[in-house]
Symmetry: C2
Subunit: 246 residues, 2 copies
């Protein structure tokens, strides 16, 4: 047994389930990276305890567009409280649009730190010296300016896709990844990226919906593109929280 | 919102963490497959609620070899009880060697069905009409005859690797996958498989340690080999339990 001190952390997921499972993979990789960087042996027992809740939560973009549609807050808050009850000190939520309810969730469950994905991403991009990125996201995220605000706070300019490209993104997310049709997803994401690059050159593309990195980076057309993955950034942030103080 | 009835299930993992994360991916795929087969739309809300515990649990093979070594049972039982407390009706444990404590765990937490990976695998291989497989596993699993018994109960003959091949498997599992060195893992697993096939022809190879399918199927040498993946079989069993009665 090795003796790397760590604290229990949580993952509030299911939005969608494939993205949640992939986040678990990214978190394990981020922990492995942390262990290696800090000179610890990489063995099973050196990883922090982490709990993942994959819950059936009402669609976030639909809820933001229509107050009469099923709303996700109650189920998310219950899952977050359960993660806190399991001892989680910090929780990551691998769904960008769900951050529309970040403040409400943090208010309802104040005993756990709920990481803020757009803010973690903006801070990391600042560290990397980027000052301008294009934003690939859901209609729900655009609607509430989730990333625009976080980027503005770090002085990062934010380029938005046109209406047609936004439609392609939504098709790639919903009819593609969430419905298990990866070839369709890849095609639609590539269409959106191609258009943004035609207009703005080799601009970094922030894959600010957790479904996008499940299909776009593998596309032959996207090889050589500058892709930013907020999900991987969030996973690294959660690993740092788990090992904080070590 | 779709209305596919399902029950909460759990995943008791961390043995190792990469295998646990991959099991979450396999479970999501198994649910997608179930939904498609049963004519349901594949949308986020059609997946069963599932909780995954990735816990730092003492090494199973070491515990079986040395009664003085740290023992895993207490931590596993606590995790299983917590999953039951979250409402899980059935729980899968993506670590083959951990099934040495299956009976003890089921006794301590009788209110949840703890799936038995070797028995689920043996039943599935029987359905597929296989009557002879070679077993790739940990020393701990060989020591207690975990799979040999389950296969014998289904009338399936079990071929075991020689001592050298067993050493290669342990190196691939511990110094390879668990330590984050996939090229080493792949090389060692291929060595063991090559030897078994030289002796027994195109015999199906059961990857009966959750680390093995993280490296072997991707090896160029293994293309065309007949590989059996108990982890994927367990994921499908858990999906069936989650949708039972639907």
């Amino acid at each position: 047994m090795t003796h790397v001190a760590s604290r229990t952390v949580g993952i509030l997921a299911g939005m969608g389930p494939a993205a949640g499972a992939d986040f678990a993979r990214l978190f394990v990789l981020a922990c492995e990276d942390w262990l290696r960087t800090h000179g610890h042996a990489v063995v099973d027992q050196a990883y922090p305890a982490h709990w993942m809740a994959q819950l059936p939560i009402a669609d976030r973009t639909r809820a933001l567009a229509d107050p009469q549609a099923p709303q996700p807050l109650a189920a998310m808050a219950q899952g977050l409280a359960q993660l806190a009850g399991l001892g989680a000190h910090a929780v990551a939520m691998p769904c960008n649009t769900a951050h529309a309810w970040h403040a409400a969730l943090q208010r309802q469950v104040p005993q756990v730190e709920l990481l803020h994905m757009p803010q973690e991403t903006a801070a990391e991009l600042r560290r990397r010296g980027l000052d301008r990125v294009a934003l690939l996201a859901t209609e729900g995220s655009y609607r509430i300016g989730l990333y625009e605000q976080a980027f503005a706070a770090q002085g990062i300019a934010c380029v938005l896709p046109c209406e047609a490209a936004r439609r392609w993104l939504m098709e790639g997310i919903y009819d593609g990844v969430k419905a298990g049709d990866l070839p369709l997803a890849q095609q639609r994401f590539v269409q959106a990226g191609t258009q943004l690059r035609a207009q703005h050159g080799d601009i970094p593309l922030a894959m600010a919906c957790t479904e996008i990195p499940l299909a776009l980076p593998q596309a032959p057309e996207a090889q050589g593109w500058t892709l930013v993955d907020p999900t991987a950034i969030l996973a690294a942030s959660l690993a740092r929280r788990a090992y904080a103080g070590s």
